[in-house]
Symmetry: D2
Subunit: 291 residues, 4 copies
């Protein structure tokens, strides 16, 4: 199939490569040219404009945030020049408000829109083992399912409205941030009584909390590996903001998310915005004067 | 070995039975007589007073809370009549302040004190598969280790000061409460957009959050099984209070614990104190007008 | 002087009338026509478009929120058709982000922009006794000062950047909301012990808290006068959101504002968005099961 | 009348002196002797024990906290040796739980107990201008009213149960702490945009917030006068704790108090416990990286 791919960051690069390996014709676009060259060497064709990457049957996009998505997808003229009947599979973590706008604009242009945000980092994207949350019209999803199967180990359908997939992704990221804050507070408490954070977390992550998110972030926290950042704290602040904004639209108070926002803001104010967001877990130690 | 056992609630009953099965002579005491009879039928001897259960080499106690422990252990005269050299293994979830007092009182009486709170519910206690967090003087722990091996699948030593084990238990319970609140908020958010709580949690608890605490409590939350309570919400409020009190003594702010306390209090005010504490997770849904 | 006036809501109506009474020629514009007629009967001239009200020396605007301001000022073409050298005195409570955009757009068009949000309700506006917070270029402020003197009892200059006045207004509204929440929590606490809210507040507002905000809102709270709304709770939520957004831009955590947001959201979810925002103070009573 | 007076700290000293000036016979007791000598020189008689100061018709006490009150009043044998029919006017800021215990113990001993906590600092106590909140049996209050008139400018009766007066005092102190935090957050926000804290507070405390608590604490905050402490931050933490404990007993959530507790704890952890509690207002500035 002829496929477009927009956004060749750490995630997108691996995903586009997997589509190539699966035998598809892939037209790629990215703001900076270096990752484009990498893909071209693997057999992709470079698009001169986002619109060119929309001249296909199915286009994927995974851009950094709302602003980049607005610029590259909505303001570039891509939708107006797209092939009618095209399905756009949008994999970025976007705000509910922008997704609604994207859905409306795609409908006006006679295009399909499927939201398919993912859980997994760059290595998981490269190995095609992502967990993909998907929402949109069932027929559209059905059409792109074989491509999603190339990219992920499992697809999790959550509804017919694209924003439902984004809400799930936003909720998931909120849950991760809550787990980090929880570990930060509990290890600060333990440490104030002379119990090493690693000792506390070893017990809990071997038993009740034996899950990747606690084990992996717990290790980073106890080893104080805050850089290089796999996911920047400032992006975590953005994502918690997406949760709060989504909640506000439906009048859902999220008091934990409010605490997370305050603590992440404080971390940014203290110059920690570029650290990995596990640094949020260290905030409790600093507040308690333990560091 | 001649062993005392004080407190035959759901947890204590299974533990005392396991000590009997392991061939020990067990002298049991409990406020109400029914569970005493059960144990006597299994071969235990009934003590008329707590002091009688302290006339042994090692006595275990697992009482409901600070008040019961104060009454049965400190105010009953048991310590004064105990066999010198006895080791008291205290398995209850107690406040740091009370543990410090217990340690001092035992030292005055020439007795050993080992804190050994446990993770696991009644069925786990009955099968001898508890996770036991232990702290106290190394020699004392060493002496009771064979008995701990009867009661649990693993013993986790965390320090030489008994209260360190209690802090770990308190921190663990705080983490569970945080997980419940996190699931409550995230499912309320998802639900407000038409995504079923079960759908959200299935994705997360199959992947990043694939841990017993999320899987088990997540199921109870989505099935709205709030009674009968395996662990009452009012006890959860007490335990979060223990975390806050422990933090206060060392000037460790715990903002998540503060939110938990406020929400648990609200639940109690709304008549939910006797529900299972997973009902905390429903609070977010009620606040958002979803129920 | 020839003056434009845009936005004839409760506040604007009284202000425009005062400018007329002071002998100025006033060209008014409002979306709905009824208030326009009232002013025309008092001697104003009706503008057919916002642009027409910008064809003057000084134009005032006081619109409901960011969205109305964007539509009427930025998207109407008014700036492009305005008389060069005009000064726009913007009195609405706007976000810092929008003010920055307004400033830039006015500068491009060669127009002056003065931010002059006000403290005071409709009766205070009608009597020309507003407190006006002002920020912008000193020369521009100096030129409009005689007009501000017509509208208010006092002008409070706070800086050369227009957004500084908006930040003060936003901070002031946040302080009011905090006072309401404080009274809500303290009266709920007192009431739970059988002390009437009115009894508690009488003591405090006669002494340490003898200020209009506590006395007036305290009276509304104890009398439970939640409607008709002088200021809707949903607008209070919007204003607390402005504070949080302003804080976020500068990495200033505002934990009280976060609590306010959560509680206001809960009130909206419970159907109280159209009540006066003093109803926020009743939330604590409901949570505690006192109502 | 023959009067006892226990607790000659900054507050008690001025109050006892006023009772002497009003012509009463006053028997004073204090742990340290220096303030006793000051009063003796003014005509008081020194008591050797608290019990001796209870051998009167009416005894006043104003001790630092629960612990001191427990030791001096409950554990000293004073109640058992007191003159039957004596009325004890307790002016300290005590926990509701301790007040209940005091009431019961006084009743057992055939003594009257009136709670009469005060608003006002040492200079106000010295000038006899305190605001006195009073609760207890009406006949008992009536009997001591002439003495309260000596000590205060006004007495505010709030109920027949002594603890009701303590709850009012606790609620009042919570309100002060909330005002400080509110000013801290709002000035941090303003300052991040280049608006001086003093400029913001001048506007608000001249208008809506024209009350002593905002004016006085606002001045201390903008002048950064954090020591010497008129009221230590660590005592503020204690008082917010009293509010939370009182709320917990009645299941009243107090989210603002929870935030205050967390921020005060953080201040203590950062070594600010001995500063005046207005230093709480500086916390927001530190978190935002403004200091």
């Amino acid at each position: 199939m002829r496929i477009g791919f927009i956004g060749l960051g750490g995630m997108g690069q691996g995903m586009a490569a997997n589509l190539l390996k699966a035998g598809h014709e892939v037209v790629v676009w990215n703001r900076s040219q270096a990752p484009v060259q990498v893909l071209v060497e693997q057999g992709a064709r470079a698009a001169a404009t986002p619109a060119e990457a929309f001249d296909v049957e199915v286009v994927f996009s995974i851009l950094a945030n709302d602003a980049a998505t607005r610029e590259v997808i909505l303001d570039s003229g891509a939708l107006e020049q797209a092939r009618v009947g095209l399905i756009h599979v949008s994999m970025a973590t976007l705000s509910v408000a922008l997704v609604d706008e994207l859905v409306a604009r795609h409908a006006e242009a006679g295009l399909g829109y499927v939201a398919a945000p993912v859980f997994g980092r760059t290595d998981v994207a490269a190995s095609g083992q992502l967990n993909i949350v998907v929402a949109g019209e069932p027929e559209a999803i059905q059409r792109v399912q074989p491509l999603l199967d190339v990219l992920g180990r499992k697809t999790w359908p959550v509804g017919a409205e694209p924003r439902q997939a984004n809400v799930v992704k936003i909720a998931g990221n909120f849950m991760i941030a809550s787990a980090i804050e929880t570990m930060g507070e509990s290890t600060a408490l333990a440490r104030s009584y002379g119990v090493e954070p690693a000792a506390l977390l070893e017990i809990l992550t071997s038993t009740l909390f034996a899950a990747p998110v606690y084990q992996n972030y717990g290790r980073l926290l106890t080893e104080r590996k805050f850089s290089p950042a796999a996911f920047k704290l400032s992006l975590g602040l953005k994502d918690v903001g997406l949760a709060l904004a989504a909640g506000q639209e439906k009048a859902v108070p999220l008091p934990f998310a409010s605490v997370l926002r305050d603590n992440l803001l404080e971390a940014v104010a203290q110059g920690e915005g570029d650290l990995d967001w596990i640094a949020l877990g260290q905030r409790s130690h600093k507040k308690a004067g333990l560091d």
